[in-house]
Symmetry: C2
Subunit: 91 residues, 2 copies
DNA sequence: TTTAAACATTCAAATGTTTCGATATATTAG
DNA sequence: CTAATATATCGAAACATTTGAATGTTTAAA
């Protein structure tokens, strides 16, 4: 994983709302629906759309269309690559 | 590790110069001198000072004064806590 | 086919970040 | 003590991010 991607992933995680979204994957290991995120974050819809875009663009979340709804799953391989990069710093 | 700290660490890592600084700890497992960072980053001295402050404030680097020089060591326990948080997302 | 629901995009305001010149502080050398 | 070196702080310019109102798009229901 190159520096540019490390930067993008880190930036994606560096926001309270986006951390809150990611934390949902601890409790529920299934997918997360856009509407559920709207319920749990006290933000306007365009803001939530923006935050989800950051996470998807960083490749941390994979979007799946389901009719007119959208659900997200955690991209574990990418998360693991990011973790591997961090571990590699320790020598 | 609480969300606020996750946010701060992520933000500290979300910059090309700061990633470059952190990557130095892969090659050399010893400490890193401020002057060495100045040599490797094509930035003015106040900018480097700023970036190092971000990393120290996020608790990723521990500063040690040595005369009029300053050296930094990687804060492995904090890095490991951050990694543990990320791992916990995978359920 | 009209209507409504779910999500995305655009735009602008507010706020935060990065960068560097100038300057300040601390430490060491002479 | 004075001069030089290493690092920090301040202030301002440039740039990026966050937020929501308004609006657009897509899909499903009636």
């Amino acid at each position: 994983m190159d520096s540019k991607k490390i930067e993008k992933i880190s930036r994606a995680i560096s926001d309270p709302s986006r951390i809150q979204i990611l934390q949902q994957f601890r409790k529920r290991r299934e997918c997360l629906y856009c509407a559920e995120i709207h319920d749990m974050l006290d933000l306007a819809q365009p803001s939530i759309s923006h935050h989800l875009k950051q996470l998807v663009d960083a490749d941390l979340l994979l979007p799946e269309k389901e009719g007119r709804n959208l659900k997200y799953v955690l991209n574990k391989p990418v998360l693991n690559e990011y973790i591997a990069f961090l571990s590699s710093l320790e020598g």
